[in-house]
Each structure stands twice: as C-alpha cells, then as structure tokens.
C-alpha cells in the first residue's frame, strides 16, 4: 500500500551532456511527474550537472531478485571470450 502522507518516490536520471546517456543519480519525493522534474532540477542539477532529466516512479521499475544472482550472473563469469578485447579502439573514441 502507498503511504498517503508521503509523496511517491521517483528515481532521477541525469544526462551530463549531449551524447552521453542518462545516468541514475538518486531519488526524491514528488506529488507527480511535473513536480518530480522540478525537484530533480533543484536537487541534482544545481551545480550544472546536467542538460536533460528523466524521472520515473520507483514502483514502475522491476528489479532483478538478489537471490537469483547465482543463476542470472554467475554463468557469465567464465566466458571471457565475450569481452571485445580483440579490437583496437581508435583514439578519437572517448566514451565507449
């Protein structure tokens, strides 16, 4: 059940500058999405941290179950051949 005395929780994603992806920065309480954007602007971009914001209701995020970690992530551990380490990365590529 949602707590009626508390605004719902939103997760905040900030794009630091054009060309980069939105990164999860934190969360905040807001009555709705518009207010969440305003709060995100005031809380997370006041030192010029970003050029774009995403907010999403925390309850709309489906997370993997930590107890499933063994079956979800362990099998990838011994498959080093999946790392693309055989390519040479050109100097011009900064943010791969």
């Amino acid at each position: 059940m949602e707590d009626k005395n508390q605004w719902p929780l939103y997760e905040v994603f900030v794009r630091a500058r054009g060309g980069l992806d939105h990164k999860h920065t934190g969360s905040l309480h807001a009555a709705d999405a518009r207010m969440a954007i305003e709060h995100a602007r005031d809380l997370y971009t006041r030192r010029q941290e970003g050029v774009s914001l995403w907010v999403v209701r925390s309850t709309d995020i489906t997370a993997s179950d930590p107890t499933d970690a063994d079956s979800l992530f362990e099998p990838a551990r011994d498959k080093v051949y999946r790392h693309p380490t055989f390519y040479e990365i050109p100097d011009e590529v900064k943010t791969l």
């Binding site: 905040l28 709060h39 006041r46």
Partner: protein, 258 residues
C-alpha cells in the same frame, strides 16, 4: 563595461536601480527564512534556490547602484547597512511568509511582475541593466513555473488548501497596486528608455495572473485604491523586524568575512 556607461550622481537612475535591487534582496531574504522549515526537503531546496537567484540579482543591482552613487559603497554596505527608510522595495516583497500558501501567493504575484519587468529591461537603454535582465529573465521564468505550479495545486487542491490560498490572495492583493503606480522616477526612466512603462507591464501582468488564478480556481480580488509607498521608503511594520535579523551580523561584526 566602460566607465562612461556609469552616470555618476544620476539620482533618478540610482533610485530606480535600488528599487530593482531591493525587490530581489528583500524577497530573497524572506524565502531564505524557509530554509530548514519547508514542508518537504525537496521544497526546502527549491525555495533556497530561488532565494539564491534573487540575492544574485540583488548583488548586480546594488553593486551597480554603488557605482552610480559614487561614494565608494559596495553591494554589502548597501545591502546591510542602510536604514529602514532607505530601502526601496515595493511593500509586497516584505510581507511575512505566513503559511506555505501565502509564500506561494506572494511569489506568484512578484515572479509574474519580475518576468514582465526583465523582459522589458532586456532592451533597456542602460547596457548594465539590459545585461542583468537577460540573465535574470531565465531564472525568473523558472521561478514563475515553480510558484504558479504550486498555486494551481493548492488552489485546485483540497478545500483546506483552497481556503488558505484564497485568504492569502485577499490579504496580499492590495499590495499589488503599488507595483504599477508610476511616480516621477518611473516616468523619467521610461522616458529615457531605461525602463519599460509600468502601464504596459500592468496589462500583461494582469492577463498572466488572471490565467493562473483561473487555472487555480481562485477568485481574483477587487482592486483597491493605491495605499502603499515602499518604493518611496515608507514601509509596513514588517520590514524593520526582517532587517534586524538580516543586518545583525554586519552591524555586530562590521566588515566580517568568511
């Protein structure tokens, strides 16, 4: 900026710039009183951000006022060491915070005024004022977005929130007449192309405010005859208490820095 751009000893320009600066300074100080007391942590930061924008604007205006005055006073001396009757903010700005709703009503009324004002000042014949306005107009657009968003939430919210903001609106509305009451200083500034005409500002302010009030389902109070003179230095009882707190540090430890 060339030194020639500053018209030293221009009394009317000085008066006008002090009005701009004191409006931002006094309103910024009022908003600062919310820090640590807001209804939510997020609002605490929101109000503090607006307060800092306003104090930033005040620094530009009051610093410029010091240059026009030409007596060697800087922004700090002007902000913190003047007497009560030397402040030139309109009386609305110094009205107490009241509850959150009253703070929001005061904010909407002034944000909409400053937005119209700065949009007009961008094309001011005074380069310094035009430059400050160009920066401040972006801040002010956000301030109004924030405050009018809240006014709609509260006005069109619960019966309790509606009653409270309607009461705050009735209480503060009479002070808005002063914003547009042009005196000799305002008229001279408009004539010289320094300031936009207050009559024109009033028209666009009024329709902007009308739209916000309608969306907030609030009733627009009737206009009252002009009865406040804060711009001329005659203030309500509230400014003195605010200044006592605001000036305490500078008066107790003159020239203190940290």
């Amino acid at each position: 900026m060339s030194a020639a751009a500053v018209s030293a000893g221009d009394e009317q320009l000085l008066r006008y710039v002090l009005r701009l600066g004191d409006l931002s300074l006094v309103l910024g100080q009022r908003l600062g009183e919310w820090v640590g007391h807001s209804p939510a942590l997020e609002e605490d930061l929101g109000l503090a951000n607006i307060a800092l924008d306003l104090i930033g604007q005040a620094r530009f205006f009051l610093g410029y006022a010091g240059e026009i005055e030409g007596r060697g006073r800087g922004e700090d001396e002007i902000a913190f060491l003047r007497e009560h009757s030397e402040y030139c903010n309109p009386t609305l700005a110094e009205q107490p915070n009241g509850d959150f709703g009253q703070t929001i009503v005061r904010q909407v009324l002034i944000d909409a005024f400053q937005l119209e004002l700065y949009e007009g000042l961008i094309s001011s014949a005074d380069e310094r004022l035009a430059a400050v306005a160009a920066k401040a107009v972006k801040e002010t657009r956000y301030h109004l977005r924030y405050s009018s968003g809240w006014l709609v939430r509260l006005g069109d919210g619960t019966a309790e929130s509606h009653t409270r903001v309607q009461a705050a609106l009735q209480r503060l509305w009479p002070y808005t007449t002063e914003l547009f009451a042009a005196d000799a200083v305002d008229e001279a500034m408009t004539e010289r192309g320094v300031a936009p005409s207050l009559a024109a500002l009033e028209k666009s302010w009024s329709s902007r405010i009308g739209a916000v009030l309608a969306e907030a389902t609030l009733e627009r109070p009737a206009d009252r005859p002009y009865s406040w003179y804060g711009k001329q230095g005659q203030h309500s009882e509230h400014l003195g208490y605010m200044l006592t707190e605001m000036q305490y540090l500078q008066r107790t430890y003159p020239g203190a820095r940290w």
